[in-house]
Symmetry: C2
Subunit: 314 residues, 2 copies
Protein backbone atom coordinates (compact mmCIF):
# COMPACT_ATOMS: atom_id res chain seq x y z
CA UNK A 1 0.00 0.00 0.00
CA UNK A 2 2.94 2.33 0.41
CA UNK A 3 5.37 1.22 -2.23
CA UNK A 4 5.84 4.85 -3.10
CA UNK A 5 4.92 8.19 -1.70
CA UNK A 6 6.61 8.22 1.69
CA UNK A 7 9.85 9.79 0.47
CA UNK A 8 8.46 13.27 0.86
CA UNK A 9 7.38 12.80 4.45
CA UNK A 10 8.74 15.00 7.20
CA UNK A 11 9.13 12.10 9.58
CA UNK A 12 10.01 14.14 12.63
CA UNK A 13 6.84 16.18 12.25
CA UNK A 14 4.80 13.02 11.63
CA UNK A 15 6.18 11.37 14.75
CA UNK A 16 5.62 14.44 16.90
CA UNK A 17 2.05 14.67 15.67
CA UNK A 18 1.57 10.96 16.29
CA UNK A 19 2.86 11.37 19.84
CA UNK A 20 0.35 14.08 20.74
CA UNK A 21 -2.41 12.07 19.11
CA UNK A 22 -1.76 8.76 20.88
CA UNK A 23 -0.52 9.92 24.28
CA UNK A 24 -3.92 9.59 25.98
CA UNK A 25 -4.19 6.00 24.77
CA UNK A 26 -0.77 4.45 25.27
CA UNK A 27 1.31 3.58 28.27
CA UNK A 28 4.53 5.51 28.79
CA UNK A 29 6.87 2.57 29.36
CA UNK A 30 9.76 2.57 31.81
CA UNK A 31 13.45 2.74 31.00
CA UNK A 32 16.53 1.68 32.90
CA UNK A 33 20.23 0.98 32.79
CA UNK A 34 20.48 -2.76 33.30
CA UNK A 35 23.54 -4.60 34.49
CA UNK A 36 24.33 -8.24 34.17
CA UNK A 37 23.73 -10.76 31.42
CA UNK A 38 27.43 -11.63 31.57
CA UNK A 39 28.25 -8.29 29.93
CA UNK A 40 31.02 -5.96 31.05
CA UNK A 41 28.97 -2.88 30.25
CA UNK A 42 25.52 -1.62 31.26
CA UNK A 43 22.69 -1.90 28.75
CA UNK A 44 20.03 0.75 28.39
CA UNK A 45 16.57 -0.76 28.18
CA UNK A 46 13.10 0.41 27.41
CA UNK A 47 10.49 -2.01 28.68
CA UNK A 48 8.10 -1.47 25.80
CA UNK A 49 6.66 -4.94 26.35
CA UNK A 50 4.79 -3.24 29.20
CA UNK A 51 2.78 -1.38 26.58
CA UNK A 52 -0.93 -2.25 26.33
CA UNK A 53 -1.36 -5.76 24.83
CA UNK A 54 2.28 -6.64 25.57
CA UNK A 55 4.07 -5.12 22.58
CA UNK A 56 4.84 -1.74 20.98
CA UNK A 57 2.16 -2.29 18.35
CA UNK A 58 -0.64 -0.14 19.85
CA UNK A 59 1.40 2.98 19.06
CA UNK A 60 1.03 2.41 15.34
CA UNK A 61 -2.51 1.08 15.63
CA UNK A 62 -3.80 4.11 17.55
CA UNK A 63 -2.03 6.51 15.23
CA UNK A 64 -3.63 4.82 12.25
CA UNK A 65 -7.12 4.76 13.72
CA UNK A 66 -6.92 8.36 14.91
CA UNK A 67 -5.93 9.71 11.50
CA UNK A 68 -8.49 7.99 9.31
CA UNK A 69 -12.22 7.81 8.92
CA UNK A 70 -13.13 4.32 10.03
CA UNK A 71 -15.90 2.72 7.94
CA UNK A 72 -18.93 1.18 9.62
CA UNK A 73 -17.60 -2.23 8.68
CA UNK A 74 -14.73 -1.50 11.01
CA UNK A 75 -11.18 -2.71 10.81
CA UNK A 76 -9.40 -5.75 9.52
CA UNK A 77 -5.84 -6.86 10.13
CA UNK A 78 -3.61 -9.81 9.42
CA UNK A 79 -1.08 -10.54 12.09
CA UNK A 80 1.28 -13.04 13.63
CA UNK A 81 -0.43 -12.04 16.86
CA UNK A 82 0.95 -8.83 18.35
CA UNK A 83 -0.36 -6.46 15.69
CA UNK A 84 -3.74 -8.17 15.79
CA UNK A 85 -3.93 -7.74 19.55
CA UNK A 86 -3.03 -4.07 19.18
CA UNK A 87 -5.68 -3.44 16.53
CA UNK A 88 -8.27 -5.32 18.59
CA UNK A 89 -7.37 -3.25 21.65
CA UNK A 90 -7.37 0.10 19.84
CA UNK A 91 -10.64 -0.76 18.12
CA UNK A 92 -12.28 -1.62 21.44
CA UNK A 93 -11.05 1.56 23.11
CA UNK A 94 -12.19 3.75 20.21
CA UNK A 95 -15.47 1.91 19.66
CA UNK A 96 -14.90 0.15 16.33
CA UNK A 97 -15.39 -3.40 15.17
CA UNK A 98 -12.29 -5.39 14.33
CA UNK A 99 -11.73 -8.64 12.49
CA UNK A 100 -8.31 -10.20 12.92
CA UNK A 101 -6.78 -12.93 10.78
CA UNK A 102 -3.94 -14.85 12.36
CA UNK A 103 -1.97 -17.84 11.13
CA UNK A 104 -1.88 -20.91 13.36
CA UNK A 105 1.73 -20.18 14.25
CA UNK A 106 0.53 -17.17 16.25
CA UNK A 107 0.17 -19.75 18.98
CA UNK A 108 -2.43 -20.27 21.71
CA UNK A 109 -1.47 -17.42 24.01
CA UNK A 110 -1.61 -14.72 21.33
CA UNK A 111 -4.84 -16.20 19.99
CA UNK A 112 -6.35 -16.19 23.49
CA UNK A 113 -5.23 -12.59 23.99
CA UNK A 114 -6.96 -11.40 20.81
CA UNK A 115 -10.12 -13.26 21.83
CA UNK A 116 -10.05 -11.65 25.26
CA UNK A 117 -9.89 -8.25 23.60
CA UNK A 118 -13.22 -8.94 21.94
CA UNK A 119 -12.26 -8.97 18.26
CA UNK A 120 -13.69 -11.30 15.64
CA UNK A 121 -10.85 -13.74 15.25
CA UNK A 122 -10.14 -15.98 12.28
CA UNK A 123 -7.34 -18.52 12.64
CA UNK A 124 -5.93 -19.38 9.22
CA UNK A 125 -4.03 -22.53 8.31
CA UNK A 126 -0.45 -22.09 7.18
CA UNK A 127 1.79 -19.05 7.29
CA UNK A 128 1.24 -15.30 7.75
CA UNK A 129 0.89 -14.81 3.99
CA UNK A 130 -2.31 -16.86 4.02
CA UNK A 131 -3.78 -14.75 6.80
CA UNK A 132 -2.85 -11.64 4.82
CA UNK A 133 -4.61 -12.98 1.71
CA UNK A 134 -7.77 -13.72 3.68
CA UNK A 135 -7.66 -10.30 5.31
CA UNK A 136 -7.45 -8.68 1.88
CA UNK A 137 -10.42 -10.70 0.71
CA UNK A 138 -12.42 -9.55 3.72
CA UNK A 139 -11.40 -5.96 3.13
CA UNK A 140 -12.71 -6.18 -0.44
CA UNK A 141 -15.91 -7.98 0.51
CA UNK A 142 -16.88 -5.95 3.59
CA UNK A 143 -15.49 -2.48 3.09
CA UNK A 144 -13.56 -2.78 6.33
CA UNK A 145 -10.36 -0.76 6.58
CA UNK A 146 -7.14 -2.71 6.67
CA UNK A 147 -4.56 -1.70 9.22
CA UNK A 148 -1.17 -2.71 7.92
CA UNK A 149 1.18 -4.27 10.45
CA UNK A 150 4.28 -2.35 9.44
CA UNK A 151 4.37 -0.84 5.97
CA UNK A 152 2.24 2.29 6.24
CA UNK A 153 3.35 5.81 7.19
CA UNK A 154 0.86 6.11 10.05
CA UNK A 155 2.07 2.81 11.50
CA UNK A 156 5.73 3.77 11.21
CA UNK A 157 5.12 7.22 12.70
CA UNK A 158 3.28 5.61 15.61
CA UNK A 159 6.11 3.18 16.32
CA UNK A 160 8.57 6.07 16.03
CA UNK A 161 6.97 7.69 19.10
CA UNK A 162 8.61 4.96 21.15
CA UNK A 163 12.06 6.34 20.36
CA UNK A 164 10.94 9.92 20.84
CA UNK A 165 9.62 8.97 24.28
CA UNK A 166 12.88 7.19 25.10
CA UNK A 167 14.89 10.30 24.30
CA UNK A 168 12.55 12.37 26.49
CA UNK A 169 13.31 9.87 29.24
CA UNK A 170 17.03 10.52 28.88
CA UNK A 171 18.25 7.80 26.51
CA UNK A 172 22.02 7.84 26.84
CA UNK A 173 22.97 5.37 24.13
CA UNK A 174 25.17 5.90 21.11
CA UNK A 175 23.62 2.78 19.62
CA UNK A 176 20.13 1.32 19.88
CA UNK A 177 19.55 -2.34 19.01
CA UNK A 178 16.11 -3.20 17.68
CA UNK A 179 14.63 -6.50 16.52
CA UNK A 180 13.23 -6.52 13.00
CA UNK A 181 10.20 -8.38 11.66
CA UNK A 182 8.46 -6.45 8.90
CA UNK A 183 10.37 -3.36 9.91
CA UNK A 184 7.72 -1.00 11.32
CA UNK A 185 9.45 -0.36 14.62
CA UNK A 186 12.94 0.02 13.24
CA UNK A 187 11.61 2.24 10.46
CA UNK A 188 10.13 4.47 13.16
CA UNK A 189 13.47 4.43 14.97
CA UNK A 190 15.43 5.29 11.82
CA UNK A 191 12.92 8.00 10.97
CA UNK A 192 13.13 9.60 14.41
CA UNK A 193 16.82 9.19 15.15
CA UNK A 194 17.80 9.95 11.54
CA UNK A 195 21.51 9.41 11.91
CA UNK A 196 21.80 11.09 15.32
CA UNK A 197 22.30 7.68 16.92
CA UNK A 198 23.30 4.39 15.35
CA UNK A 199 20.49 1.90 14.95
CA UNK A 200 21.42 -1.78 14.80
CA UNK A 201 18.90 -4.08 13.15
CA UNK A 202 18.76 -7.50 14.79
CA UNK A 203 17.20 -10.42 12.93
CA UNK A 204 16.93 -14.11 13.64
CA UNK A 205 19.17 -16.24 11.43
CA UNK A 206 15.92 -18.00 10.60
CA UNK A 207 14.26 -14.80 9.37
CA UNK A 208 16.93 -12.54 7.82
CA UNK A 209 14.38 -10.51 5.91
CA UNK A 210 16.00 -7.09 6.01
CA UNK A 211 19.52 -8.45 5.62
CA UNK A 212 18.57 -10.33 2.47
CA UNK A 213 16.60 -7.42 1.04
CA UNK A 214 19.52 -5.03 1.52
CA UNK A 215 21.67 -7.54 -0.32
CA UNK A 216 19.33 -8.70 -3.08
CA UNK A 217 16.76 -5.94 -3.43
CA UNK A 218 13.59 -4.73 -1.74
CA UNK A 219 11.25 -7.31 -3.27
CA UNK A 220 13.26 -10.27 -1.97
CA UNK A 221 11.15 -12.92 -0.29
CA UNK A 222 12.72 -14.98 2.46
CA UNK A 223 11.82 -18.32 4.00
CA UNK A 224 11.18 -17.75 7.69
CA UNK A 225 11.06 -20.09 10.66
CA UNK A 226 12.32 -20.40 14.22
CA UNK A 227 11.23 -19.48 17.73
CA UNK A 228 10.51 -15.82 17.00
CA UNK A 229 8.72 -16.43 13.69
CA UNK A 230 5.25 -15.28 14.75
CA UNK A 231 6.63 -11.84 15.62
CA UNK A 232 9.74 -11.44 13.46
CA UNK A 233 8.82 -13.70 10.55
CA UNK A 234 7.73 -11.31 7.79
CA UNK A 235 8.75 -12.83 4.47
CA UNK A 236 9.29 -9.47 2.80
CA UNK A 237 10.54 -6.31 4.46
CA UNK A 238 8.34 -3.25 4.42
CA UNK A 239 9.30 -0.76 1.75
CA UNK A 240 9.40 2.16 4.17
CA UNK A 241 11.85 0.25 6.33
CA UNK A 242 13.90 -0.81 3.33
CA UNK A 243 14.28 2.72 2.05
CA UNK A 244 15.25 4.17 5.42
CA UNK A 245 17.62 1.31 6.20
CA UNK A 246 19.31 1.55 2.83
CA UNK A 247 19.64 5.32 3.02
CA UNK A 248 21.22 5.10 6.49
CA UNK A 249 23.51 2.19 5.67
CA UNK A 250 22.03 -0.18 8.23
CA UNK A 251 23.94 -3.45 8.54
CA UNK A 252 21.76 -6.12 10.13
CA UNK A 253 23.13 -8.45 12.77
CA UNK A 254 21.88 -12.04 12.84
CA UNK A 255 21.22 -14.10 15.97
CA UNK A 256 20.54 -17.81 16.31
CA UNK A 257 17.45 -19.24 17.96
CA UNK A 258 19.73 -20.62 20.68
CA UNK A 259 21.08 -17.11 21.35
CA UNK A 260 17.54 -15.73 21.50
CA UNK A 261 16.44 -18.45 23.92
CA UNK A 262 19.47 -17.82 26.08
CA UNK A 263 18.82 -14.06 26.24
CA UNK A 264 15.18 -14.76 27.06
CA UNK A 265 16.25 -16.90 30.00
CA UNK A 266 18.77 -14.27 31.15
CA UNK A 267 16.09 -11.57 31.11
CA UNK A 268 14.05 -13.68 33.49
CA UNK A 269 16.84 -14.96 35.68
CA UNK A 270 18.64 -11.65 36.08
CA UNK A 271 15.93 -9.02 35.72
CA UNK A 272 12.66 -10.95 36.19
CA UNK A 273 11.32 -9.87 32.83
CA UNK A 274 9.43 -12.63 31.09
CA UNK A 275 9.41 -11.79 27.39
CA UNK A 276 8.68 -13.57 24.15
CA UNK A 277 11.59 -14.61 21.91
CA UNK A 278 11.25 -11.50 19.73
CA UNK A 279 11.48 -9.39 22.88
CA UNK A 280 14.86 -10.92 23.72
CA UNK A 281 16.35 -10.82 20.20
CA UNK A 282 17.99 -7.39 20.50
CA UNK A 283 19.65 -8.35 23.78
CA UNK A 284 20.75 -11.63 22.18
CA UNK A 285 22.89 -9.67 19.74
CA UNK A 286 24.91 -8.43 22.73
CA UNK A 287 24.93 -11.57 24.87
CA UNK A 288 25.94 -13.76 21.93
CA UNK A 289 28.63 -11.32 20.81
CA UNK A 290 27.01 -10.97 17.39
CA UNK A 291 27.22 -7.24 18.01
CA UNK A 292 30.29 -6.11 19.93
CA UNK A 293 30.27 -2.47 20.98
CA UNK A 294 33.46 -0.50 20.49
CA UNK A 295 35.24 0.56 23.70
CA UNK A 296 33.15 3.29 25.31
CA UNK A 297 30.20 2.82 22.96
CA UNK A 298 26.98 3.05 24.97
CA UNK A 299 24.31 0.60 23.90
CA UNK A 300 20.60 0.17 24.52
CA UNK A 301 18.04 -2.46 23.58
CA UNK A 302 14.35 -2.06 23.02
CA UNK A 303 12.40 -4.87 24.69
CA UNK A 304 9.54 -5.07 22.27
CA UNK A 305 7.18 -7.89 23.25
CA UNK A 306 6.19 -10.28 26.01
CA UNK A 307 3.36 -12.37 24.66
CA UNK A 308 5.00 -15.60 25.70
CA UNK A 309 3.78 -19.07 25.11
CA UNK A 310 2.62 -20.58 27.30
CA UNK A 311 0.93 -17.62 28.94
CA UNK A 312 1.57 -18.12 32.67
CA UNK A 313 -2.07 -17.38 33.50
CA UNK A 314 -3.88 -19.22 30.72
CA UNK B 1 19.07 -8.34 68.20
CA UNK B 2 17.73 -4.83 68.00
CA UNK B 3 15.05 -4.71 70.64
CA UNK B 4 16.52 -1.43 71.82
CA UNK B 5 19.10 1.02 70.71
CA UNK B 6 17.77 2.18 67.34
CA UNK B 7 15.78 5.09 68.76
CA UNK B 8 18.79 7.37 68.61
CA UNK B 9 19.56 6.67 64.95
CA UNK B 10 19.59 9.48 62.44
CA UNK B 11 17.81 7.43 59.85
CA UNK B 12 18.19 9.87 57.00
CA UNK B 13 21.95 9.90 57.47
CA UNK B 14 22.03 6.11 57.79
CA UNK B 15 20.06 5.68 54.58
CA UNK B 16 22.19 8.17 52.67
CA UNK B 17 25.33 6.40 53.84
CA UNK B 18 23.81 3.04 52.90
CA UNK B 19 23.03 4.36 49.43
CA UNK B 20 26.60 5.43 48.69
CA UNK B 21 27.85 2.14 50.10
CA UNK B 22 25.61 -0.18 48.09
CA UNK B 23 25.25 1.74 44.83
CA UNK B 24 28.01 -0.19 43.02
CA UNK B 25 26.32 -3.48 43.92
CA UNK B 26 22.62 -2.95 43.37
CA UNK B 27 20.45 -2.38 40.35
CA UNK B 28 18.72 1.00 40.07
CA UNK B 29 15.22 -0.23 39.31
CA UNK B 30 12.82 1.50 36.94
CA UNK B 31 9.73 3.48 37.84
CA UNK B 32 6.61 4.35 35.93
CA UNK B 33 3.08 5.68 36.08
CA UNK B 34 0.92 2.68 35.26
CA UNK B 35 -2.63 2.80 34.01
CA UNK B 36 -5.18 0.09 34.04
CA UNK B 37 -6.06 -2.58 36.57
CA UNK B 38 -9.65 -1.38 36.44
CA UNK B 39 -8.66 1.76 38.34
CA UNK B 40 -9.78 5.28 37.48
CA UNK B 41 -6.43 6.76 38.48
CA UNK B 42 -2.81 6.11 37.52
CA UNK B 43 -0.61 4.18 39.91
CA UNK B 44 3.04 5.01 40.45
CA UNK B 45 5.17 1.90 40.45
CA UNK B 46 8.73 1.03 41.21
CA UNK B 47 9.72 -2.29 39.71
CA UNK B 48 11.98 -3.31 42.56
CA UNK B 49 11.41 -6.97 41.70
CA UNK B 50 13.96 -6.25 38.94
CA UNK B 51 16.59 -5.95 41.66
CA UNK B 52 19.27 -8.66 41.75
CA UNK B 53 17.78 -11.98 42.96
CA UNK B 54 14.24 -10.78 42.23
CA UNK B 55 13.44 -8.79 45.36
CA UNK B 56 14.50 -5.64 47.26
CA UNK B 57 16.44 -7.73 49.79
CA UNK B 58 19.98 -7.24 48.40
CA UNK B 59 19.86 -3.59 49.50
CA UNK B 60 19.79 -4.58 53.15
CA UNK B 61 22.13 -7.53 52.67
CA UNK B 62 24.84 -5.48 50.97
CA UNK B 63 24.53 -2.70 53.51
CA UNK B 64 24.95 -5.22 56.32
CA UNK B 65 27.94 -6.97 54.76
CA UNK B 66 29.66 -3.72 53.88
CA UNK B 67 29.43 -2.33 57.41
CA UNK B 68 30.68 -5.32 59.37
CA UNK B 69 33.77 -7.46 59.67
CA UNK B 70 32.73 -10.79 58.28
CA UNK B 71 34.20 -13.77 60.16
CA UNK B 72 36.02 -16.51 58.28
CA UNK B 73 33.09 -18.80 59.00
CA UNK B 74 31.09 -16.49 56.77
CA UNK B 75 27.41 -15.68 56.95
CA UNK B 76 24.29 -17.41 58.04
CA UNK B 77 20.69 -16.46 57.41
CA UNK B 78 17.23 -17.86 57.94
CA UNK B 79 14.75 -16.93 55.25
CA UNK B 80 11.48 -17.69 53.58
CA UNK B 81 13.54 -17.48 50.40
CA UNK B 82 14.06 -13.91 49.21
CA UNK B 83 16.35 -12.80 52.03
CA UNK B 84 18.35 -16.00 51.72
CA UNK B 85 18.83 -15.45 48.00
CA UNK B 86 19.96 -11.88 48.67
CA UNK B 87 22.48 -12.94 51.33
CA UNK B 88 23.76 -15.72 49.06
CA UNK B 89 24.15 -13.24 46.21
CA UNK B 90 25.85 -10.54 48.27
CA UNK B 91 28.15 -13.12 49.84
CA UNK B 92 29.18 -14.43 46.43
CA UNK B 93 29.82 -10.95 45.05
CA UNK B 94 31.87 -9.93 48.11
CA UNK B 95 33.68 -13.25 48.43
CA UNK B 96 32.20 -14.71 51.60
CA UNK B 97 30.75 -18.10 52.46
CA UNK B 98 27.04 -18.23 53.19
CA UNK B 99 24.82 -20.85 54.78
CA UNK B 100 21.10 -20.35 54.29
CA UNK B 101 18.31 -22.05 56.24
CA UNK B 102 14.94 -22.06 54.57
CA UNK B 103 11.67 -23.66 55.60
CA UNK B 104 10.05 -26.05 53.15
CA UNK B 105 7.38 -23.46 52.39
CA UNK B 106 10.00 -21.35 50.60
CA UNK B 107 9.02 -23.53 47.65
CA UNK B 108 11.03 -25.10 44.86
CA UNK B 109 11.78 -21.99 42.80
CA UNK B 110 13.24 -19.99 45.70
CA UNK B 111 15.18 -23.05 46.84
CA UNK B 112 16.56 -23.55 43.31
CA UNK B 113 17.49 -19.85 43.14
CA UNK B 114 19.52 -20.01 46.36
CA UNK B 115 21.27 -23.16 45.14
CA UNK B 116 22.11 -21.48 41.84
CA UNK B 117 23.72 -18.65 43.78
CA UNK B 118 26.16 -21.12 45.30
CA UNK B 119 25.23 -20.94 48.99
CA UNK B 120 25.18 -23.89 51.37
CA UNK B 121 21.49 -24.50 51.62
CA UNK B 122 19.63 -26.27 54.41
CA UNK B 123 15.94 -26.92 53.92
CA UNK B 124 14.19 -27.19 57.28
CA UNK B 125 10.91 -28.95 57.97
CA UNK B 126 8.06 -26.81 59.22
CA UNK B 127 7.76 -23.05 59.42
CA UNK B 128 10.18 -20.10 59.25
CA UNK B 129 10.66 -20.17 63.03
CA UNK B 130 12.31 -23.60 62.73
CA UNK B 131 14.73 -22.34 60.12
CA UNK B 132 15.51 -19.38 62.37
CA UNK B 133 16.24 -21.69 65.32
CA UNK B 134 18.60 -23.80 63.24
CA UNK B 135 20.33 -20.73 61.89
CA UNK B 136 20.91 -19.51 65.43
CA UNK B 137 22.36 -22.87 66.40
CA UNK B 138 24.75 -22.74 63.44
CA UNK B 139 25.73 -19.18 64.32
CA UNK B 140 26.64 -20.33 67.85
CA UNK B 141 28.45 -23.45 66.68
CA UNK B 142 30.40 -21.98 63.76
CA UNK B 143 31.02 -18.36 64.57
CA UNK B 144 29.29 -17.35 61.34
CA UNK B 145 27.64 -13.93 61.34
CA UNK B 146 23.88 -13.91 61.17
CA UNK B 147 22.25 -11.48 58.77
CA UNK B 148 18.81 -10.68 60.07
CA UNK B 149 16.07 -10.58 57.48
CA UNK B 150 14.41 -7.41 58.71
CA UNK B 151 15.03 -6.36 62.29
CA UNK B 152 18.48 -4.78 62.22
CA UNK B 153 19.40 -1.13 61.58
CA UNK B 154 21.74 -1.95 58.68
CA UNK B 155 19.02 -4.01 57.01
CA UNK B 156 16.40 -1.29 57.47
CA UNK B 157 18.75 1.44 56.24
CA UNK B 158 19.56 -0.66 53.17
CA UNK B 159 15.90 -1.18 52.35
CA UNK B 160 15.28 2.54 52.91
CA UNK B 161 17.56 3.31 49.96
CA UNK B 162 14.80 2.04 47.72
CA UNK B 163 12.54 4.95 48.71
CA UNK B 164 15.39 7.43 48.49
CA UNK B 165 16.09 6.22 44.97
CA UNK B 166 12.42 6.48 44.06
CA UNK B 167 12.32 10.11 45.19
CA UNK B 168 15.43 10.81 43.12
CA UNK B 169 13.54 9.33 40.18
CA UNK B 170 10.69 11.77 40.66
CA UNK B 171 8.18 9.91 42.84
CA UNK B 172 4.99 11.94 42.61
CA UNK B 173 2.83 10.12 45.11
CA UNK B 174 1.16 11.46 48.21
CA UNK B 175 0.83 7.89 49.40
CA UNK B 176 3.05 4.84 48.96
CA UNK B 177 1.60 1.37 49.51
CA UNK B 178 4.07 -1.29 50.69
CA UNK B 179 3.57 -4.95 51.54
CA UNK B 180 4.67 -5.99 55.02
CA UNK B 181 6.26 -9.24 56.14
CA UNK B 182 8.71 -8.76 59.00
CA UNK B 183 8.70 -5.04 58.28
CA UNK B 184 12.21 -4.30 57.02
CA UNK B 185 11.15 -2.59 53.82
CA UNK B 186 8.34 -0.55 55.31
CA UNK B 187 10.57 0.42 58.23
CA UNK B 188 13.05 1.75 55.68
CA UNK B 189 10.24 3.61 53.95
CA UNK B 190 8.94 5.12 57.20
CA UNK B 191 12.47 6.03 58.22
CA UNK B 192 13.21 7.77 54.93
CA UNK B 193 9.86 9.40 54.25
CA UNK B 194 9.34 10.26 57.92
CA UNK B 195 5.89 11.78 57.59
CA UNK B 196 6.60 13.63 54.34
CA UNK B 197 4.43 11.13 52.47
CA UNK B 198 1.83 8.74 53.79
CA UNK B 199 2.93 5.11 53.92
CA UNK B 200 0.21 2.47 53.80
CA UNK B 201 1.13 -0.93 55.19
CA UNK B 202 -0.51 -3.78 53.27
CA UNK B 203 -0.74 -7.22 54.84
CA UNK B 204 -2.43 -10.44 53.84
CA UNK B 205 -5.49 -11.25 55.92
CA UNK B 206 -3.67 -14.52 56.54
CA UNK B 207 -0.60 -12.78 57.98
CA UNK B 208 -1.75 -9.58 59.76
CA UNK B 209 1.46 -9.35 61.77
CA UNK B 210 1.86 -5.57 61.99
CA UNK B 211 -1.87 -4.94 62.34
CA UNK B 212 -2.12 -7.27 65.31
CA UNK B 213 1.04 -5.95 66.92
CA UNK B 214 -0.18 -2.36 66.72
CA UNK B 215 -3.37 -3.52 68.41
CA UNK B 216 -2.05 -5.95 70.99
CA UNK B 217 1.59 -4.99 71.52
CA UNK B 218 4.96 -5.48 69.85
CA UNK B 219 5.57 -9.01 71.12
CA UNK B 220 2.35 -10.36 69.64
CA UNK B 221 2.79 -13.59 67.69
CA UNK B 222 0.45 -14.29 64.81
CA UNK B 223 -0.50 -17.45 62.98
CA UNK B 224 0.43 -17.01 59.34
CA UNK B 225 -0.61 -18.82 56.18
CA UNK B 226 -1.76 -18.13 52.64
CA UNK B 227 -0.27 -17.65 49.20
CA UNK B 228 2.24 -14.96 50.21
CA UNK B 229 3.36 -16.69 53.41
CA UNK B 230 6.93 -17.44 52.38
CA UNK B 231 7.59 -13.73 51.81
CA UNK B 232 5.10 -11.95 54.08
CA UNK B 233 4.65 -14.59 56.76
CA UNK B 234 6.74 -13.34 59.68
CA UNK B 235 5.01 -14.38 62.90
CA UNK B 236 6.26 -11.38 64.85
CA UNK B 237 6.87 -7.91 63.48
CA UNK B 238 10.36 -6.44 63.70
CA UNK B 239 10.77 -4.06 66.59
CA UNK B 240 12.26 -1.32 64.43
CA UNK B 241 9.23 -1.50 62.19
CA UNK B 242 6.86 -1.58 65.13
CA UNK B 243 8.35 1.53 66.71
CA UNK B 244 8.37 3.53 63.49
CA UNK B 245 4.86 2.40 62.53
CA UNK B 246 3.47 3.21 65.95
CA UNK B 247 5.16 6.61 66.07
CA UNK B 248 3.78 7.53 62.65
CA UNK B 249 0.28 6.18 63.27
CA UNK B 250 0.37 3.60 60.48
CA UNK B 251 -2.95 1.86 59.94
CA UNK B 252 -2.44 -1.43 58.09
CA UNK B 253 -4.77 -2.46 55.32
CA UNK B 254 -5.58 -6.16 54.93
CA UNK B 255 -6.03 -7.99 51.63
CA UNK B 256 -7.37 -11.47 50.97
CA UNK B 257 -5.45 -14.17 49.14
CA UNK B 258 -8.03 -13.91 46.36
CA UNK B 259 -7.35 -10.18 46.01
CA UNK B 260 -3.61 -10.84 45.88
CA UNK B 261 -4.02 -13.53 43.23
CA UNK B 262 -6.24 -11.23 41.20
CA UNK B 263 -3.71 -8.37 41.33
CA UNK B 264 -0.95 -10.79 40.38
CA UNK B 265 -2.92 -11.80 37.30
CA UNK B 266 -3.67 -8.17 36.43
CA UNK B 267 0.03 -7.28 36.62
CA UNK B 268 0.72 -9.93 34.04
CA UNK B 269 -2.28 -9.38 31.81
CA UNK B 270 -2.08 -5.60 31.72
CA UNK B 271 1.60 -4.81 32.24
CA UNK B 272 3.40 -8.13 31.53
CA UNK B 273 5.01 -8.19 34.92
CA UNK B 274 5.14 -11.66 36.41
CA UNK B 275 5.51 -11.27 40.15
CA UNK B 276 5.13 -13.43 43.22
CA UNK B 277 2.06 -12.97 45.43
CA UNK B 278 3.93 -10.69 47.85
CA UNK B 279 4.90 -8.51 44.88
CA UNK B 280 1.24 -7.98 44.01
CA UNK B 281 -0.07 -7.41 47.55
CA UNK B 282 0.34 -3.61 47.57
CA UNK B 283 -1.51 -3.29 44.27
CA UNK B 284 -4.19 -5.63 45.61
CA UNK B 285 -5.05 -3.06 48.25
CA UNK B 286 -6.05 -0.70 45.42
CA UNK B 287 -7.66 -3.18 43.04
CA UNK B 288 -9.74 -4.75 45.82
CA UNK B 289 -10.78 -1.36 47.20
CA UNK B 290 -9.28 -2.20 50.60
CA UNK B 291 -7.51 1.13 50.27
CA UNK B 292 -9.49 3.84 48.55
CA UNK B 293 -7.54 7.01 47.78
CA UNK B 294 -9.26 10.30 48.49
CA UNK B 295 -10.16 12.40 45.43
CA UNK B 296 -6.92 13.75 43.99
CA UNK B 297 -4.68 11.63 46.23
CA UNK B 298 -1.78 10.32 44.19
CA UNK B 299 -0.79 6.75 44.99
CA UNK B 300 2.15 4.50 44.26
CA UNK B 301 2.93 0.86 44.92
CA UNK B 302 6.28 -0.78 45.42
CA UNK B 303 6.52 -4.05 43.48
CA UNK B 304 8.80 -5.93 45.83
CA UNK B 305 9.35 -9.46 44.55
CA UNK B 306 9.02 -11.79 41.59
CA UNK B 307 10.31 -15.15 42.70
CA UNK B 308 7.25 -16.92 41.44
CA UNK B 309 6.45 -20.58 41.71
CA UNK B 310 6.72 -22.28 39.37
CA UNK B 311 9.73 -20.52 37.92
CA UNK B 312 9.01 -20.30 34.18
CA UNK B 313 12.53 -21.49 33.34
CA UNK B 314 13.01 -24.25 35.93
Amino acid sequence: MTRRGHGHLNWKAEIKAAASRITPYVQRTPVMQARGFGLEFPVGMKLEQMQHTGSFKPRGAFNTLLTQDIPKAGLVAASGGNHGAAVAYAARVLGHRARIYVPELAGPSKIALIKRLGADLVVVEGAYANAFTEAQAWEAASGAMQVHAYDAPATVAGQGTCLREWEEQGLEADTVLIAVGGGGLIAGALAWLAGRRKVVAVEPENAPTLARALQDGPETEVEVSGIAANALGARRIGRICYDLAQAQGVQPVLVSDAAIASAQKLLWQERRQLVEPAGAAALAALTSGAYQPAPGEKVAVLICGANTAPDPFE
